[in-house]
Amino acid sequence: MDTWQITRFTLMTAVAATALMIPPGLALAWLLARRRFRGRVLLETFVSLPLVMPPVATGLILLLLFSPRGPIGGVLTRMGIEVVFTWRAVVLAMTVMGLPLFVRTVRAGFEQVDRRYEAIAGTLGASPLRVFFSITLPLALPALAAGAVLGFARAIGEFGATIMIAGSIPGVTRTLPVAIYTFTEIGRDRDAAVLLAVSAGIAFIALWLSNYLTSRAGLRP
């Protein structure tokens, strides 16, 4: 078993997923923190769904959408892009499951930014976009960092949705949690134990870092 390959693959896909969840996550967090609009509660609910639904259920939804016969998967297949049972499915599952955690944390960060600063910046001639990038975002940076670490930790530990749309293909889609599960199923207990130690170590570090950043941001962890 290539412990290093599995670990490296998991870390890389988790980093990619974290990067992927930042732009939509920032937009959603800002919308929910700063704007009132019709359907706001609906949006809030949608974003929180993957947190509350069983991960395999979320995985099933993703499978129905992204399999070659699905609405999104069909389009992508015609464009020559395969998703299910590839690394893309791994990143997709990680992103979808990590996004709600990221949005929650960043939203709390935005809500803590004093709107007076944003208002004053506006009177000084800054457009809403400039206010966001020069005032709101820098002042919420600790929350953003905490949210990213949390999303990353969630991505690393992601299993239910991953196993549904990415499967457990050695060297291709086997992340740490998926490998632990598969090795246990086929009787490779010692290998599973090694991977268990690795993922516990990573999770510990990531969570510690997230709590540290959250307390620096002055938010409740």
């Binding site: 004053i120 506006g122 009177t123 000084l124 001639g125 809403p128």
Partner: protein, 217 residues
């Protein structure tokens, strides 16, 4: 010249103002809760009146009948609020130059000279004294080259000694930069000393307006 004809409602409080502000320094005078800050907010675009219009130097900033509501960042007002609100994550220089636009006539040197904040430019805002914060906030508002300066009780949180020292700066701004100033205070002496014209407010309406000597009996 600012023409204000607005009605603004907030809960049980109703503000109704119809005024022409033309002089160099107009003081809005009255007890707290009278609506003075609300007027500044309305001019700056931070609050939207229920009805009416605001026209500044011939430019319509707000008109409920025509559904015009220019957003704050396009109104060219310089607002120094009561809580000052210097951006905590930027140093003094970046705070002051925040609203500066390329090619504007007013330079950093000119503004910092008038308010004597040149030596503070590289400091962090957390380390400034009360008086320094006031001057930096003023400099920041001025550097955006506004068409009008809105000052909300700039000396309210400042002790007597400091007050005496800052007032000359305000007078220099008035004299050297020729920006019309709308100044909110509940202090009679400030109003008397600084104003060309006083508008007295109480509970949302203008009860008197005119020469400071006359109006403030």
């Amino acid at each position: 010249m600012i023409a204000i004809d607005i009605r603004l409602e907030q809960g049980t409080f109703v503000l109704e103002v119809h005024e022409r502000l033309e002089t160099r320094v107009t003081v809005l005078f009255g007890p707290s809760g009278a609506g003075k800050t609300t007027i500044l907010d309305a001019i700056a675009g931070l609050r939207t009146p229920a009805r009416g219009s605001i026209v500044m130097n011939g430019r319509t900033l707000f008109n409920s009948a025509d559904r015009i509501n220019v957003p704050p960042h396009k109104r060219h007002v310089g607002y120094v609020s009561q809580d000052i609100a210097l951006f905590p994550h930027l140093d003094v220089r970046r705070n002051v130059t925040y609203g500066q636009r390329p090619g504007q006539k007013l330079s950093l040197e000119a503004v910092t000279a008038i308010l004597e904040v040149g030596g503070l430019l590289d400091r962090g805002v957390a380390m400034l004294s009360g008086g320094e914060r006031q001057r930096v906030a003023l400099a920041r508002a001025l550097m955006s080259a506004p068409d009008v300066l809105l000052l909300d009780e700039p000396l309210a949180a400042v002790d007597l000694e400091l007050r005496r020292r800052i007032l000359p700066y305000l007078e220099r701004v008035r004299d050297e930069l020729a920006v019309p100033i709308l100044y909110v205070t509940h202090d009679r002496d400030e109003a008397r000393r600084f104003a060309d014209r006083v508008v007295v407010l109480d509970r949302g309406s203008v009860i008197r307006a005119g020469d400071p000597g006359v109006v403030l009996q």
